[in-house]
């Protein structure tokens, strides 16, 4: 596409943007229509996710025919179900293994915030404490249509991205891996190391 499309009446500097907008549209359309989700069932919502894949709701109408078991080949992660402390290191590792561009859909109340099990000692209050989430679908469990609606919101978000600004083509915005949480006496996020040490010092000072 070497020729610039000429649109009469537009100033010269805007002509370039028109080209980019069209390119964005094609680029995003391609990505939207061939998203590959990762088969990643955690709990109850995964059963509704399977119902969504099955004949009545048929996820493949959205170009998501292939559910990949390997995170390397997937670009959409459905966190469908309760995220427990024991499981979250694995989820973060899986997220890190996914190639850019990657999107995360928190399916159901549990993945969004811990849901009805929030108060539990082994439940993470929302996967967004560890990995960035693009769309939240509340509901316990959300019906297949509600999950499809969430998928469409992801599509909307993708359509708004621009090839000019997306981080995965830019050298200065290399995506850092999310630090993997550690299972200590309780779940520990390495991101909080400094805060934790400071608070521990203060707590120790209070006691001693």
């Amino acid at each position: 596409m070497s020729e610039k499309p000429e649109i009469p009446g537009l100033p010269d500097d805007l002509q370039r943007n028109v080209f980019l907008t069209t390119l964005d549209a094609i680029y995003n359309w391609g990505r939207v229509k061939s998203m590959w989700p990762m088969a990643f069932g955690l709990a109850c919502c995964a059963i509704e996710f399977m119902a969504m894949m099955a004949s009545r709701f048929d996820l493949s109408r959205f170009g998501m025919e292939i559910i990949r078991a390997s995170p390397r080949q997937a670009d959409l992660m459905f966190v469908s179900g309760t995220v427990t402390k024991k499981m979250v290191p694995n989820i973060v590792r899986l997220y890190n293994q996914m190639a850019e561009p990657k999107y995360v859909l928190a399916v159901g109340a549990c993945a969004t915030s811990g849901g009805p099990f929030k108060e539990g000692y082994n439940v993470v209050s929302g996967i967004d404490k560890f990995i960035p989430v693009d769309v939240y679908v509340p509901g316990c469990p959300p019906t297949p249509e509600a999950i499809l609606y969430g998928v469409m919101r992801i599509h909307d978000a993708v359509m708004k991205q621009s090839v000019k600004s997306v981080p995965w083509y830019r050298r200065d915005q290399r995506n850092e891996a999310v630090p993997v949480p550690v299972l200590g006496p309780d779940l520990y996020n390495p991101k909080d190391r400094e805060a934790l040490k400071r608070m521990l010092r203060e707590a120790g000072a209070d006691l001693g």
Binding site: K85, G184, M199
Partner: protein, 587 residues
């Protein structure tokens, strides 16, 4: 038998194991910890209590109490045993709350293995001589024993719901804001993340197998390696993990590693009021929520002495059997998925499930989490036209679908050759490992709670217990298929006989149930086996102790036994035939 002994000495079994029984209570006999093993040996060998159904524990203020539920399964249909189908309940009291310890009964009933580990994990009670006593639902290194009454979670607000902060002033704060770490975590004072090293898990049982180094088979030199499968694996039916020791392709040791979906069901359940637990039980075995509701309301009704109207009983049975059909469809479909029939049989199963879910949605309001049963009845009467829809499904559609299933799956030679002789459990082994449901019946033990201890109105229906003598994966598949036919049979009778009348006992709907102090165990034959709810009440609006006897969790005990000697690819199929649901395994 026990009655005569009681007359002689006052306490049962005092002539065979003197001093074993210290007290007889309404809810079981209290056994001295040091005499537990001899008594257990006697009960198993002389009294026919060959099946250890449940092990759990209660944290009383003065002592820990470990509770054992024993059944006679091997010979339940013989006249003598049939007369006493009520479980024998043993209780061991451990007054030393700082170091609670008692002998493990694994050597007598191998089915105690995982359950004792769970008791250890949740309450910190040590079982001496347990072959592999370490944390099971939580991870090695976790601080605290969650089900002890003095354990407080980070988000702890009050001992019992409803919380006072919600009304009338709405001073509720976002849970994260109430805790010092701004998250659902808490650390012991002085814990330094930099110095922390995770305790290494010793896969003791299977590492011993590994001890010899390189193994030799007759033709190839093979090496023994540990393969870790899961928790993220498409064939583990959720977040289940197996650590498999393989010699070449052959499985020589296996250990299930669970807890990746441990949602603190029991701890939350002890804080909930009785009625609040009903929707939580939906989320146990999330494929068979109606059946979970059923078991729970039965237990509470037993405790509170509530009568259920006739129509409600029928509706419950109809719902429970529809649930069984769904569950078996999914189990069968995904068993094929594990075998490599990529998604087709599962799709067929899911398709019929949708139609049954439509019925659930029409009656209860939700597809999966039905929350339909209430103490004394059901949430609402069946809507108009529901019975006709259900009849249409049961008489016309399901038999036709089953025909397709038979043609598509049962006659498939590849499937048969893959599954015959795989993962064999003999009848004795199945009983010893406390297997339940289709797993037990596929080993030729005709034990079905609906016949052995009929609950609700199951004694009115005409149906057969489906068994197979083979005890392999194929038999498990076949038993599930046959049970669908039996469920259709029950459904036909129940839909035809559905009487008119009320669906709840008379009186205003109550959201606060008064339950007298005491304990009760209510169990149903769920699609996966005996699903039991053990409830201890102290008269407060919330249960003092709430424990779920999860059939698939206990069925996992025998996974290693079934897999050893087979190829690693077969272990996936054997696991698929257990039909685990992680919501129930981990709770």
């Amino acid at each position: 038998m026990t009655d005569t002994m009681m007359q002689m000495t006052g306490l049962p079994f005092s002539d065979v194991v003197p001093g074993a029984v210290t007290e007889v209570t309404k809810n079981g006999i209290v056994v001295a910890a040091d005499k537990l093993l001899p008594l257990a040996m006697h009960l198993r060998d002389r009294e026919g209590y060959d099946y250890l159904s449940m092990v759990t524990s209660v944290d009383w203020p003065q002592y820990f109490e470990v509770v054992y539920y024993l059944y006679r399964v091997g010979a339940w249909h013989s006249a003598a045993a049939a007369a006493s189908q009520e479980p024998l309940v043993l209780k061991v009291r451990l007054p030393d709350k700082a170091r609670p310890e008692l002998p493990s009964v694994c050597s007598i009933w191998p089915g105690a293995d995982l359950q004792e580990r769970e008791v250890y994990d949740m309450m910190g009670i040590r079982f001496t001589d347990h072959p592999n006593l370490r944390r099971i639902l939580l991870w090695e290194g976790f601080q605290g024993w969650p089900l002890r009454k003095d354990f407080k979670e980070p988000y702890y607000e009050e001992d019992a719901k409803p919380f006072k902060s919600r009304h009338p002033d709405g001073k509720h704060a976002w849970a994260e804001d109430r805790v010092p770490w701004k998250d659902n975590v808490t650390y012991p004072v002085g814990w330094d993340p930099d110095l922390w090293t995770q305790p290494e898990v010793q896969y003791r049982k299977i590492m011993q197998v590994d001890g010899g180094g390189n193994g030799h088979s007759s033709e190839f030199k093979t090496e023994r390696v540990l393969v870790n499968m899961g928790p993220q694996h498409p064939s583990t039916h959720g977040v289940f993990r197996m650590v498999i020791a393989v010699d070449g392709e052959n499985v020589v040791g296996l250990e299930p590693e669970i807890g990746y979906l441990h949602r603190c069901h029991e701890k939350i359940g002890e804080r909930n009021t009785y009625i609040m637990n009903i929707p939580f039980t939906d989320r146990l075995d999330y494929i068979a929520s109606m059946s979970n509701n059923f078991g729970y309301v039965l237990a509470v009704e037993k405790l509170a002495g509530i009568q259920v109207p006739e129509r409600a009983e029928y509706i419950r049975v109809i719902m429970a059997e529809l649930t069984r059909i769904i569950s078996h469809f999914i189990a069968v479909g995904f068993l094929f998925n594990d075998l490599g029939a990529y998604f087709t049989p599962a799709l067929y199963g899911l398709r019929e499930r949708e139609l049954i879910l439509d019925l659930f949605e029409a009656a209860a309001g939700s597809r999966m989490m039905c929350n339909y049963m209430r103490f004394g009845g059901v949430f609402a009467d069946l809507p108009e036209g529901w019975v006709e829809r259900a009849k249409d499904l049961v008489w016309n559609r399901l038999p036709r679908v089953m025909e397709d299933f038979e043609k598509l799956l049962a006659g498939n030679e590849i499937f048969e050759t893959r599954c015959r002789g795989l993962g064999v459990l003999t009848a004795e082994e199945a009983i010893a490992y406390s297997m339940a449901g289709p797993m037990l019946r596929a080993s030729g033990v005709p034990y079905d709670l609906r016949k052995a201890r009929p609950y609700s109105i199951y004694d009115r229906f005409d149906f057969d217990i489906c068994t197979r003598p083979e005890g392999d994966v194929w038999a498990r598949f076949r038993v599930r298929m046959d049970e669908i036919y039996q469920s259709i049979r029950i459904l036909k009778q129940a839909l035809d006989g559905l009487p008119a009348g009320p669906i709840m006992p008379p009186g205003k709907k109550q959201y606060q149930l008064r339950v007298p102090a005491g304990e009760a165990y209510g169990a149903v034959e769920g699609p996966k086996g005996e699903l039991g709810f053990y409830i201890v009440s102290d008269g407060k609006p919330n249960p003092y102790r709430y424990h779920v006897r999860a059939p698939t969790f206990i069925n996992l005990t025998s996974l290693e036994k079934m897999c050893i000697g087979h190829k690693i690819a077969d272990s996936v199929v054997i696991l698929g035939a257990i039909d685990i649901v992680l919501g129930e395994v981990d709770r």
